[in-house]
């Protein structure tokens, strides 16, 4: 009977020009109706308090909740209705499947959303193309990769303006694609989350909770889950190493850009210059973070999340690792004949990383932050559905 009702609803939605509920969304909604009648997981994260604001769940609610979920696993291990129970509740998995779908749905340009489908392949092709680009360029410019004499200065291989000409358009495109994607997500989720405009307290709260990864602390500070029902802070810590490592590297590049254009201080920079300090700290942090996250991902409980997204997760981790490893190698091997090849490897990895940012795991950070901002905004308003009693 419910299926018929659902079909009728879908038909109605289609007639109204709204897209129908997909199978992963329907599954998430089914599980949310069970969770909303139980509510014992409320203390774990933001998803369940957000759920209690609702009695019904539409497509936009599903997208919002899916991106609010950090896949910490706490609710799965606590759940009386988890498989083998016939209700088969696995919220982290249901959320992950919808989350994966939203990345593709909201990708800009829309057609490129298909790059999420075989994301491991996408990243491999991007990496191969990035490496090939710089190696061919090097051969074309200098006639080879090994014996070229660069005097420790990589601008002798790729002039500054050439690099700017290659990377700036990519960077601008990435920024545009990500903003367009998250803008669409925001537009679709906003009406479903109270519709209110966001404000400074909400933005502060969301940023603070995102930056400290509050929702990987299990709700009690002892951490989330990885292999089993034991709590661990390892995921939170390695994610911190990764995120802050990434941000430090980004800061290093930004400072270097300022040095170049405003002060005329030309790279390479050596210790203890700011770009070098930031870059080395960031690179080492990224190495530690990505190695840790890789290991945790490989040993993750098989019921957590969506197995189909493993290649996307691992591919992104691998690209970050490669970027930091080649960056550090470039610094250490600058005075050797390997400079040209190291530079090609590093630039190829960086190019592959950047060009796939809007079509890979990186999107999770942007969409989650947006969802957390909607959450912080929505909860300021009184609940539309305020239940009264239970036991």
């Amino acid at each position: 009977m419910q299926t018929l009702e659902a079909l009728a609803k879908d038909a109605h939605a289609l007639a109204q020009g709204q897209p129908a509920i997909t199978a992963p969304e329907a599954e998430l909604i089914r599980q949310m109706h069970i969770c909303n009648a139980c509510r014992y997981c409320e203390g774990f994260c933001a998803v369940f308090p957000a759920m209690t604001h609702r009695l019904e769940f539409g497509k936009a609610d599903a997208h919002f909740l899916a991106n609010l979920c950090h896949n910490c696993g706490a609710c799965l291990h606590a759940c009386q209705y988890a498989p083998p129970h016939q209700f088969a509740v696995n919220v982290p998995q249901a959320m992950a499947k919808v989350r994966g779908q939203t990345y593709a749905d909201y990708a800009w340009p829309h057609a490129l959303g298909m790059l999420y489908q075989r994301n491991g392949l996408t990243l491999c092709v991007a990496l191969a193309a990035g490496l090939a680009l710089f190696m061919l360029l090097a051969v074309f410019l200098k006639g080879g990769l090994w014996h070229v004499h660069l005097g420790g200065d990589f601008y002798n291989l790729f002039p500054h303006n050439l690099l700017v000409g290659l990377f700036v358009p990519v960077f601008l495109f990435v920024a545009l694609a990500l903003s367009m994607g998250v803008r669409q997500f925001w537009r679709s989720v906003k009406p479903a989350t109270g519709g209110g405009p966001t404000n400074l307290p909400a933005a502060t709260e969301a940023s603070y909770d995102a930056l400290r990864l509050k929702y990987l602390d299990g709700g009690h500070g002892q951490g989330c889950h990885n292999e089993d029902d034991a709590h661990t802070l390892a995921r939170r810590r390695f994610h911190h190493f990764t995120l802050y490592g990434f941000l430090l590297c980004f800061a290093a590049t930004s400072v270097a850009t300022i040095y170049h254009y405003f002060f005329g201080w030309i790279a390479p920079y050596d210790l203890p210059s700011m770009p070098k300090l930031l870059g080395v700290a960031g690179g080492v942090s990224l190495l530690i973070g990505t190695v840790g996250l890789w290991r945790l991902n490989r040993s993750r409980h098989p019921s957590h999340g969506d197995a189909a997204q493993k290649s996307m997760d691992l591919g992104f981790i691998a690209l970050l690792f490669l970027t930091s490893a080649t960056g550090l190698a470039l610094w250490l091997g600058r005075g050797t004949p390997a400079l040209a090849i190291l530079l090609c490897l590093h630039l190829g990895a960086v190019m592959a990383l950047f060009i796939t940012l809007p079509y890979g795991k990186f999107a999770h950070g942007i969409f989650r932050l947006a969802a957390m901002l909607r959450y912080a905004t929505e909860k300021q308003a009184p609940k539309s559905a305020e239940p009264a009693e239970t036991s």
Binding site: Q2, R39, C41, E42, G43, Q86, S384, E386, E389, T390
Partner: protein
């Protein structure tokens, strides 16, 4: 209980008030000494629980009236049990999963060994915590017997927990070892749950929390009890029994649009209709009787100022049974109906014990066999229930039984000689 606000608990819930609550719901069918011991233990056990990895959270959204009286486990009961098993594992305790014990060897009131699938496991002491018998349907059927309508009421019961609570050891101790018993086998924690819940293990989400916001009729479309008698946490566990006493063991909770959003959303959607007659038809109830019941109720409502967080002054006059609080006419479409069945959480028949948690034989305590949990909850709960008391009993007597068993094991030989 707590004398002052404690982390997730507001105000105070003093011993005397807790005791009076328990006295009221059990109708005096309790043991004051053991009840007070449980109540006192509940004020100090939470730090011990936290040390073993249990976390508490503020009351669930929509759970009014309980912020003062109930501390909720974060993640619920499975998270609690996961934490305890993990803690036991850290202490070096070996856990044998999927090893059901089917009988015990007891000599002169003294535990000697347990048998699991033919394997004999000896020990210096033993704690029985093997649950009630709610999942043994034929035992339930026999206990409830046949009613004056010729029905076997227990055939229509749903079991809220696992299918494995068959009371194998409870029966073994009572029948084969003549352990002292306590409680009436028909008494249990019984909630009126959604009739569409699975036969076993529907758990907490199948609750229907809108009883006090509307009315409840039986299969003959007649009301049978005061839906607004008291706050829901003090009443929800009597409704299973009330429904069990109705013809066909079925009830229907009826609400109108005014109630929506004021109670925990049920897991399955309610039957919905724009008129009360249509609702009666869809629920398969006799339309004329249903309409008469509703008309009588609506006409009897004396609306004061509705407030679901208080025992308000909305009540009925000249209606039997009355609705003493939160009585508002059911007149605003859409109307909703939820079919209710008795759902057993756990049974109260158990092993008689005292403040040492020892199993008794012919009035004599066993020196090394102890009991905890549902197998002895009937010592405190002769009938009725107040939210959370089962967890208090489980924790208080679990700890007593564990401590006593450890002492008995350490005392070992000398005590054996004296026994």
């Amino acid at each position: 209980m707590h004398e002052a606000p404690q982390d997730v608990l507001v105000d105070a819930y003093p011993e005397e008030e807790y005791w009076q609550d328990l006295l009221k719901v059990t109708g005096g069918n309790t043991n004051e000494h053991l009840a007070r011991l449980t109540i006192r233990a509940s004020s100090t056990c939470r730090d011990w629980m936290r040390r073993h990895g249990v976390h508490f959270q503020p009351p669930l959204s929509g759970a009014l009236h309980v912020a003062r009286t109930n501390a909720f486990f974060m993640g619920g009961g499975k998270a609690l049990v996961n934490a305890y098993y993990r803690s036991a594992g850290r202490l070096g305790i070996q856990i044998r999963y999927e090893t059901p014990v089917d009988r015990l060897e007891i000599k002169d009131n003294r535990f000697v060994a347990a048998y699991a699938a033919g394997q004999r496991i000896t020990a210096k002491a033993c704690v029985l915590a093997a649950g009630g018998f709610e999942s043994d349907r034929s035992w339930l059927r026999d206990a409830w017997g046949q009613n004056e309508r010729g029905e076997w009421p227990a055939e229509n019961f749903l079991i809220r927990g696992t299918a494995y609570n068959k009371g194998v050891l409870l029966r073994h101790l009572l029948d084969d070892h003549q352990a002292d018993r306590i409680g009436d086998p028909t008494q249990a924690h019984m909630v009126a749950i959604d009739a569409r819940a699975p036969l076993y293990d529907g758990g907490i989400c199948t609750r229907i929390d809108c009883v006090s916001l509307g009315i409840v009729v039986n299969g003959e479309a007649r009301r049978f009890y005061d839906e607004g008698e008291d706050f829901w946490p003090k009443r929800y566990a009597i409704w299973g029994r009330l429904v069990a006493q109705q013809p066909g063991q079925i009830g229907y909770s009826i609400i109108d649009a005014k109630a929506i959003g004021r109670f925990m959303p049920p897991v399955f959607p309610g039957v919905k209709a724009m008129t009360l007659s249509k609702l009666a038809q869809q629920l398969g109830l006799d339309e004329r009787t249903f309409m008469r019941t509703l008309d009588d109720y609506n006409a009897a409502c004396r609306i004061g100022s509705f407030n679901h967080t208080l025992l308000d002054d909305c009540h009925t006059e000249g209606l039997a049974p009355p609705k003493t609080h939160w009585a508002r006419p059911i007149d605003t479409p859409p109307f909703y109906g939820y079919a209710l069945r008795p759902g057993i959480t756990f049974t109260y028949l158990g092993l008689r014990t005292d403040e040492t948690a020892a199993v008794h034989f012919g009035g004599q305590p066993s020196p090394n066999l102890f009991v905890a949990g549902e197998m002895m909850a009937g010592n405190v709960l002769g009938k009725g229930y107040t939210a959370g008391v089962g967890m208090s009993i489980g924790t208080a007597f679990g700890r007593i039984a564990g401590t006593r068993a450890a002492r008995a094991a350490l005392a070992g030989g000398t005590q054996h000689a004296n026994a």
